[in-house]
């Protein structure tokens, strides 16, 4: 595997789950929970003749950013599309619970400088949602993760990190939306129904899944940044995601709460206003929406580098 220094300058998009996990935290600080050597594989897949993986496709562990313990969940899209089953689902849930318990202990031990030590959960999503081979366990895992995130709310930030090949779709699209903070690169995608399924259900005229530029304009990082679905847009480098996390660890919890997009009556109202806007505007393409938010030449935005984009982009102003 690449060294930490190499990882910081590597593409997040091309990196596997373990490389991302290592590179999102400070050098040499990552410890894996239930790693490959523990051989904790899915009990369901062998019966169905499907290949298994020693870590069941999700790398969990803890590292540091400064003095902040960062609990990491990192999904591997190459293994069954990053789908969530019983084992990797449970790993994810327990990692979030553990972070919350650790937060409590640190608060007791270090009441004076707790702010410098407050933990954080970073979930690197690369998944299409439920692993169909173990559907019930996978669905249950989704529900438990939602609960775990809810339990952690107001205590520690739970951060979605999205910039990998598969994107973040299906039930995990809901889970990502339920986190406090979302960090994306322009290569990242978040959605509920995957592009191919939309095309299959609604027809090619409605949504052409082979038109990748259209798919990215609809679900990609730049669109999410403009409408306010993601909080940070960074370059496709592991180190840039690391830096964004280093920013989030310092933000007080009441500010973190304001970064959420859903989860209160006020936010429900804000979302309803957005739905109303789309109903009024009837956009044929995301670019219509970008224009509405003040971007004079929306067609130029997709081709811009992230740095140039951030300089000129106009975002939806939140109430």
């Amino acid at each position: 595997m690449k060294s930490w220094n190499e990882l910081e300058n590597s593409s997040f998009f091309d990196a596997n789950a373990r490389e991302r996990a290592l590179g999102m935290v400070d050098k040499g600080t990552f410890t894996e929970f239930l790693g490959p050597h523990d051989r904790f594989t899915s009990p369901h897949l062998p019966v169905l003749g499907t290949a298994v993986e020693f870590d069941d496709g999700t790398v969990c562990g803890v590292g540091l950013i400064g003095k902040h313990p960062v609990f990491v969940v990192s999904m591997e899209g190459k293994f069954i599309g990053g789908a969530i089953g019983e084992v990797n689902g449970a790993k994810m849930v327990e990692t979030i619970h553990l972070a919350r318990k650790v937060a409590k202990e640190i608060q007791e031990k270090h009441p004076d400088d707790y702010a410098e030590r407050r933990p954080l959960v970073a979930i690197s999503f690369e998944t299409g949602g439920v692993r169909l081979h173990e559907a019930n366990a996978g669905l249950l895992a989704h529900a438990e993760v939602m609960d775990a995130i809810q339990d952690a709310r107001h205590i520690i930030p739970v951060v979605a990190v999205v910039g990998s090949k598969v994107g973040c779709f299906g039930g995990m699209g809901f889970v990502a939306a339920a986190t406090d903070v979302i960090i994306m690169s322009q290569e990242g995608r978040i959605g509920l129904t995957g592009p191919e399924v939309i095309e299959q259900e609604m027809g090619k005229d409605e949504f052409d899944a082979s038109d990748k530029a259209l798919v990215y304009r609809t679900t990609g990082g730049k669109q999410k940044y403009i409408v306010g679905d993601c909080n940070y847009l960074v370059e496709d480098k592991i180190g840039d995601f690391h830096n964004a996390l280093a920013d989030v660890v310092t933000i007080p919890m009441d500010e973190i709460e304001k970064m959420r997009r859903i989860g209160s009556q006020k936010l429900v109202k804000e979302q309803q206003e957005l739905v109303q806007l789309v109903a009024d505007l009837q956009p044929g393409d995301s670019m219509d929406l970008w224009k509405h938010f003040g971007n004079e030449d929306p067609a130029a935005l997709p081709n811009m580098t992230t740095a140039d984009f951030l300089k000129v982009v106009k975002r939806r102003v939140r109430p």
């Binding site: 930490w4 490959p36 050597h37 051989r39 062998p46 003749g49 290949a51 298994v52």
Partner: protein
């Protein structure tokens, strides 16, 4: 239908093992595999366990891993592979890469 597990043992003249206690490499992606290498006192030999959905390639697996052992002269190692339709060259390359990692000094 179910996954099958293949186990092989190889004699190796060399008793040069890996430097790490264990080392992991690769992802069980489609057409790919992952490999766990572990230092073990096997009297110089190599033990291999392959878990794969592919049927009818038992002999090929034995020859592929045998070639890797012969080419590299590695010994006292247990190799565990989770496979998902990797082709012979992918198997060989992943084993070589895994070995390179297992014998590397801690990277900076």
């Amino acid at each position: 239908m179910a996954l099958q597990t293949l186990e092989f043992e190889f004699k190796s003249a060399n008793t040069q093992s890996i430097s790490k206690e264990w080392s992991h490499h690769g992802v069980t992606g489609s057409g790919d595999m992952e490999c766990l290498m572990e230092k073990k006192d096997l009297g110089g030999g190599v033990k291999a366990k392959v878990v794969t959905p592919v049927k009818g390639f038992d002999k090929v697996w034995e020859k592929m891993i045998g070639k890797f052992v012969a080419d590299t002269g590695v010994g006292n190692v247990s190799i565990e592979i989770n496979d998902d339709n990797a082709t012979p060259i992918v198997v060989y390359m992943r084993l070589r890469q895994a070995l390179a990692e297992a014998t590397a000094k801690e990277a900076e």
